[in-house]
Symmetry: D2
């Protein structure tokens, strides 16, 4: 039974709030929209008149806000969290913002002795309402453990990703991959439709391959993740197939934006000597090399 | 027990050949590399001195060749299949070539009364050896049924995709999506590594979401495939997250080629009024509209 | 002979400052780097201890700073310009920042009765030193006229682009086009080199066509700018040539990143019915349509 | 006064033909469209009933055809040029096809002792009619000199680019750069329009910078072409400006396809240590390195 401050009562935030109340906690809430505050009061929370007021006396303060600038203002602006929060409390931001913005806020709070955890949210607002959100969490182990019971009221599949900011990083990585895979699925299906294939048939075929099952649990473990270049499928063969798809698409006037530039990266990989390596290992090595990442 | 002609004895072709022999069939084989022919003779096949000779007397003739021009020459060039194949035989091309190349060959063979099926192969050469290839098959139902027993000697998960050329189309669609998803996985992981996240942690998180599980069996069935625009996750939110990832990547100098252009297509979708729709439905609608595909 | 406040004494700023002094004006300067301030004092300026102090008593206050956040803090932060500037002075920002950031600052200054002009700079730091910078200027006509004499001390080719923020917009448009044209030039040359062509020969040929001369003064005036779709060169022919270049580049493993995605936009244009229009008009219409811009 | 065979009488070809006739030459022409042949007969040419017939007795044989496969068939198909052309004649292909297709045809003709020159055409069909086409010519110096008088009947600015196929290469390089520059001009203008700038103002500004004047005669000679990395304008500053343009475009929902992927290549350049080099030299070095081109 903890005293919790909660700022940001949109679709996600209000769902999460209700689950904290359901978990037996005592909520003091603030939002610039008064109606949103009133809804939470009806659900059992106490209204605060500012972020500062919501933070005062709380053991943990949560924010769930749209963009980094607003998070910053909510913490450090006039009547902000930083003015109200006590030194032994923990501040948890669940918004999706840049890792650098997260670390910047954390550094400034640390100067006044306040600890921060970032815990951006996966899944949808329906999951937030159901209390089945996922969390990618960044922060010191001790701080993460202290806020874990509250996150468990709101979700499941809670992963501690590393120091402050890595929650945000892993969230961005995940959503980045998902957003592109979403488009390439649409592009592939549109190409098939334009060329006379049937949607159901394509779904059936794709559902059995990395195109539909993803790579991270199928092709990657034995090759790219193990840095094993021995080819299950050679990069240059994938490059050839990409070329055929792009030619077929140009004939049908179907735009394959992601694949067009993908072929060029495969060209780079092949020019750098990865053409006869496994396509996953060769591409992973290429991108890491281009990025100086290891 | 059928008489089969088989041309193209590379890594894939020779594995397939052995499985047809194992299935009790009588093979007559040809390849421009004599050593490859001799290997198959050692395995129980009869050597042919040309594609024409391999085709003569066969009930079904298979080709497994690297590119469309070579398939065309093997069929219609001097001493080609077209000169040897009988009118009641079926010609099956398992090469990965353009659907239009497939249909062109089929049209010309039809003029001399010969039926054609295209059956490009999924999975790797290890699967070809093991007899567990997948096939995406195009052609008339009757012809596909006649060659099915032979395909079953060589593989599993055999899908009849529609008329001649749709096997090639679905193969390209599938490999297209896979090749891009492979790159975007590498890009996302490289971004995470550059920003201080841990590979294992990223794999763990991604394995539970569409980023790692693919979209076609997770987010797409209830939304994009049903053309339901009501948002589980709004397109404009995915667009925002893409922007954050691109900014974080530019700071870390990690190249996100697929994501960069993906963001622009999301911009197009949003400008066209799909920003508040579900991200899968909105994107699928946008790409189909741009392509005039339905 | 005016009293001028100047904040931001980097490579560009210090060059500009000297030219204002040379023009007979009385400068009060500030920079967070003391050495930079001292250099300007040696050149005849008066040192200020803050942005506020530099602004006090000035008829016009200039900033030349690296990013939007710093501009904002320099204006509205503690000891910022907003605290020192008088109501009949004009604030001129010459930094390259987002138009929206510019307008945001302008709105807040307007609340306290101070006028703003944005005047981002073209060309290089060598031009700034020589007093031959170009300026793209946004703001009310009256305010722009008042600051024109000072801009003329620092540069030439000064264009009033429209209301506040349009200086920044036109600057971004210009630099955007230049940055891409720079890369595509490199890509084309690399493709030629890889395929055995000679650099000098390519330069000679390109220098006579829109590839080297740009489009805006060659192909665009009679067609795209006049919205005339009658083809001097048909969009679908350019699309075909792009396809050939991409195929040749894939064979040579030369990455053509810009061209790959360009081909897809040409595909979109062609699918939308612009394939037989002039390539400039058809592409301009397509992009404007996708962007809802007119 | 030479005997010339000419095959391919489309919009371009018929214009060129007329200029050869005007030049006093004796033309024997063929096209699969009889009306096109008749038009040339009316203009003073002799009709041939096949490509072979057009080639017989000619000192030089020209083709002007749409795609590489058709050129190949016109030369080596039944009743093709190869059957009619004499050993001391020269075959000149002016079509825009792949350099590799050109070299392939040249190799096969050389086997029967016939020389080939490739001379793809620049500019538009209006220029072909006016006799002011440009030619990018590939072939042995001796052969190029022999066909030069005929090319001069049809055009101006005739550049000998190197051995057979380099005409095609330089043509593709040129058209590649032009096609991308055309799109990026449209993208930039659309961004400006969407953000409230005026078309005329943008044209005025752009006309004075590399955005409108091209790079090859402005920024490149002293830097990229001289491999001088000392910065007139630093690559990382251009990279920053690209980021601002992409952010402004995302806010306005304007798709900047070329710029999006350009930013990623600038990221690659910066990660590889070229960030503080001149933007032209740094990018040229990066692309050449990625392509293994020198």
């Amino acid at each position: 039974m903890a005293k919790i401050g909660f700022i940001g009562l949109g679709q996600m935030g209000s769902g999460m709030c209700r689950n904290l109340i359901k978990g037996g906690h005592q909520l003091k809430v603030y939002d610039c929209a008064e109606a949103a505050v009133q809804n939470m009061v009806d659900a059992g929370a106490e209204a605060a008149t500012s972020a500062r007021a919501a933070a005062e006396g709380a053991e943990v303060v949560f924010t769930m806000l749209p963009i980094g600038d607003i998070v910053y203002q909510t913490v450090f602006g006039p009547d902000g969290i930083a003015e109200g929060i006590s030194n032994d409390a923990i501040y948890v931001d669940m918004s999706t913002i840049l890792p650098e913005e997260t670390r910047n806020i954390g550094r400034k709070l640390a100067e006044q002795g306040v600890a921060m955890v970032d815990a951006p949210v996966g899944r949808t607002s329906a999951h937030a309402v159901a209390g089945t959100s996922t969390f990618m969490v960044g922060g010191d182990k001790e701080h993460v453990q202290r806020v874990m019971p509250y996150l468990e009221c709101m979700g499941e599949c809670i992963t501690h990703c590393g120091p402050l900011g890595t929650g945000a990083t892993v969230k961005l990585v995940n959503n980045y991959i998902s957003a592109v895979c979403n488009l390439v699925t649409a592009e592939g299906m549109a190409l098939g439709l334009a060329a006379g294939a049937d949607q159901d048939t394509m779904v059936e075929v794709i559902s059995q391959t990395p195109a539909g099952l993803g790579h991270i649990k199928t092709t990657w473990p034995a090759k790219a993740l193990a840095d094993d270049p021995s080819p299950a499928f050679m990069l240059d063969l994938a490059r050839k197939d990409l070329g055929l798809a792009l030619t077929a698409a140009a004939d049908a006037k179907v735009p394959l934006a992601t694949g067009s530039v993908t072929r060029e990266i495969y060209n780079i990989a092949s020019a750098a000597g990865h053409g006869r390596e496994d396509w996953t290992t060769g591409i992973y090595r290429t991108v890491k090399h281009l990025a100086n990442a290891t």
